[in-house]
Symmetry: C2
Subunit: 406 residues, 2 copies
């Protein structure tokens, strides 16, 4: 893409009214625009990163047998009354249709939709197990929304829901999702910083689990076992008497972290509310066992920026960068041929063909944070100056040398 | 995909409470599930069709220079007060945040977001023209919602917004979008039935234009010029004294149709409300000229079903069918090898590996409407029986013969 065709401009100054690093950088670099507290527009660069994240997650969900569906944002309040969550879910947006007088809810999650849906198709143990997932915007009427993309009133989520004929089968799948999540966070580039974390299971399960990414911007505190790499959320550390639930080790270190995903054995919490049953091989009826597994995509966008930046800007992991190459020409037209060759070879290139000073172009490239910066100028002659974002050394190479990283 | 892994089951009976052909067929065949009036879940098959339509539209939007963004559903009421539409837009969902006490609107369209957004990046004539598009759910508090996917309270739209330094430039781009739309409807498979239609331009433009697809399920009446193929919406036919606005011909025929797209020269309607100005080459400030261009994707899904079905089910145009082949085995395991070969060759195959009678499988295949039905049974031996949906004759072919349509 030619940068001259990208309508977005970078900003030198931090935006007012933003406290978080992720929002400041994402706004300054032109990835998002703030519409109001907790509500952002994804600009072209931000949309590209989100699509990359979405692609990785979709691939891994399909790999474990998830089938994609798309559920509505508008949900009938009646379904939430059925599960008893209408009055107690404290961030629920509630409103009325003027014409139909119906009470609606803006979906913050979709158990109230997916459970009755399955009631239409699940009858026998032969219909189980199954798993469906959705990637779509969800809504929460948050009290405060000051953490940029980390806590939005409107945010993009992937949720997977699974359905089983026994608790053992749920547990088996739960573990499969857990290792799939580990893979997703490695692919997204934050695997090293992300910890499988024991958290409260609420009233119907001993534990749920979270994936927590270490960052000082995190709102959670976790305790990491120095022996087996498992973590514990502060909310249950006392119940565990300060011991790792996997290995019993008491040598844990405290860290601040952000929850990028959570997985939850719902068991029969929702199937009982909606009467979602199946006939077993013996003909007897049983409640379906359920699990739910969320990943916040817009939160992930914010988290990656929190953990991957320096004082000049963002440093994208290659797999989710909006482009692989940032091609900068310091002499008008000098990059055109290289741009054509690279895109023809299938590479994703942001081509800075603007009329601007070298200083402005370099500052923008650092701020935007694309992995490989290519510079062509009078000085580089027939060669290309290549530098990796986050490193200081550049070198001169030939086009052929780019093949290795293409 | 193996049909046994698809959790959805077809229904023999028409669903109650649905009057429209599109909703009846889409529900019976398992493409969508009705959550409440005007609100549907896209099931895996429906999601696949929508993704195909989305892919075609995205490709054509990018071809004319559109850049993709994603705007919020939650919009501040204040922006709608600024354009004077807060009180007069009669299908607006309005509600309040419990915590922030802010007044919100659920976006039925995004002029109130995209215009102030551009105010942050457009300063000079050099920043123009530009065009951004979005593919996302929109919301309308419809009085009635009885036409299935044709008129939802929640629906998927593509909207393109363009920005220009002069009316002439807007007009030029408007024509380009118009022919791009013609191409989209041809690719989606309803080109022959879809008419470029003159409609009211409101108070600030002489005309807007619609793309109307002929179907008895349509809520609009249009008059088609028998000479030049242009149509006129009934709402303005009197103002035109019954004459075609392109060629003056008065030989028009009346038809019922559904509006699948509309394009609108907004001119300065919204740029003046938000003070979106640019400095011209002469240094003088002018209001930006805007156009907006919508296509309803979920409506398109419903429209295609209205125009492409028979008494047995849906007949998908190949380009947007959920799969290309529906492989039916009448003897357990007989299709496995063919399924593997076809998917390896890159073909999209729904493989009916269920334990069911031939009659049930054929009825489901007709209902679901995938273009090519392949049958393997004891009787077909090493050959494959192939039949095109909508045609009655089948023939026996070898695997090699499939190459032609792969």
């Amino acid at each position: 893409m030619r940068q001259s065709e990208l309508f977005v401009k970078t900003q030198r100054e931090d935006p007012k009214e933003e406290e978080s690093v992720n929002a400041k950088l994402l706004i300054r670099a032109g990835y998002v625009d703030k519409v109001m507290a907790g509500v952002y527009t994804l600009l072209p660069l931000g949309q590209r990163v989100i699509k990359k994240i979405e692609g990785i997650i979709r691939e891994e969900m399909e790999r474990i047998g998830g089938v994609e569906i798309f559920m509505p944002t508008l949900q009938p309040a009646a379904n939430w009354e059925k599960t008893g969550r209408y009055e107690v879910y404290d961030t629920l947006f509630k409103f009325k249709s003027f014409f139909s007088k119906s009470d609606y809810v803006l979906g913050p999650t979709h158990e109230e939709i997916v459970t009755p849906l399955m009631g239409k198709f699940v009858f026998s143990y032969k219909d189980l197990p199954l798993a469906v997932f959705q990637i779509q915007n969800k809504f929460r009427d948050e009290l405060r929304s000051k953490s940029g993309l980390l806590r939005g009133r409107e945010f993009l989520m992937k949720d997977l829901y699974s359905f089983h004929s026994s608790e053992e089968d749920l547990e088996k799948f739960y573990k499969r999702v857990s290792s799939s999540y580990g893979k997703i966070f490695r692919r997204v580039g934050i695997g090293r910083l992300t910890y499988f974390t024991y958290a409260s299971g609420g009233t119907f399960s001993k534990y749920s689990h979270e994936f927590q990414t270490l960052t000082s911007a995190g709102e959670d505190v976790i305790y990491i076992c120095n022996k087996c790499r498992v973590a514990v959320n502060r909310e249950i550390i006392e119940d565990l008497h300060g011991a790792c639930p996997e290995c019993g080790n008491k040598d844990l270190r405290e860290e601040k972290a952000i929850e990028v995903a959570n997985i939850f054995p719902l068991k029969t919490r929702f199937s009982s509310a909606f009467g979602l049953k199946f006939a077993g091989a013996d003909g007897r009826e049983n409640l379906v066992q359920m699990g739910c597994y969320g990943i916040g995509l817009s939160r992930l966008l914010g988290t990656v920026v929190e953990v991957a930046h320096d004082d000049k800007g963002i440093i994208w992991p290659e797999q989710i960068a909006p482009f692989k190459f940032h091609l900068i020409e310091l002499k008008k037209g000098k990059g055109r041929d290289l741009y054509r060759r690279l895109t023809k070879a299938g590479a994703e290139v942001l081509y800075d063909d603007r009329e601007a000073t070298a200083g402005e172009k370099f500052a923008d490239a650092d701020l935007i944070g694309i992995p490989w910066r290519l510079v062509v100028s009078e000085k580089t002659k027939n060669k290309i100056e290549i530098k990796k974002r986050g490193e200081s050394k550049s070198k001169l190479v030939n086009y052929g040398d780019l093949g290795r990283i293409l």
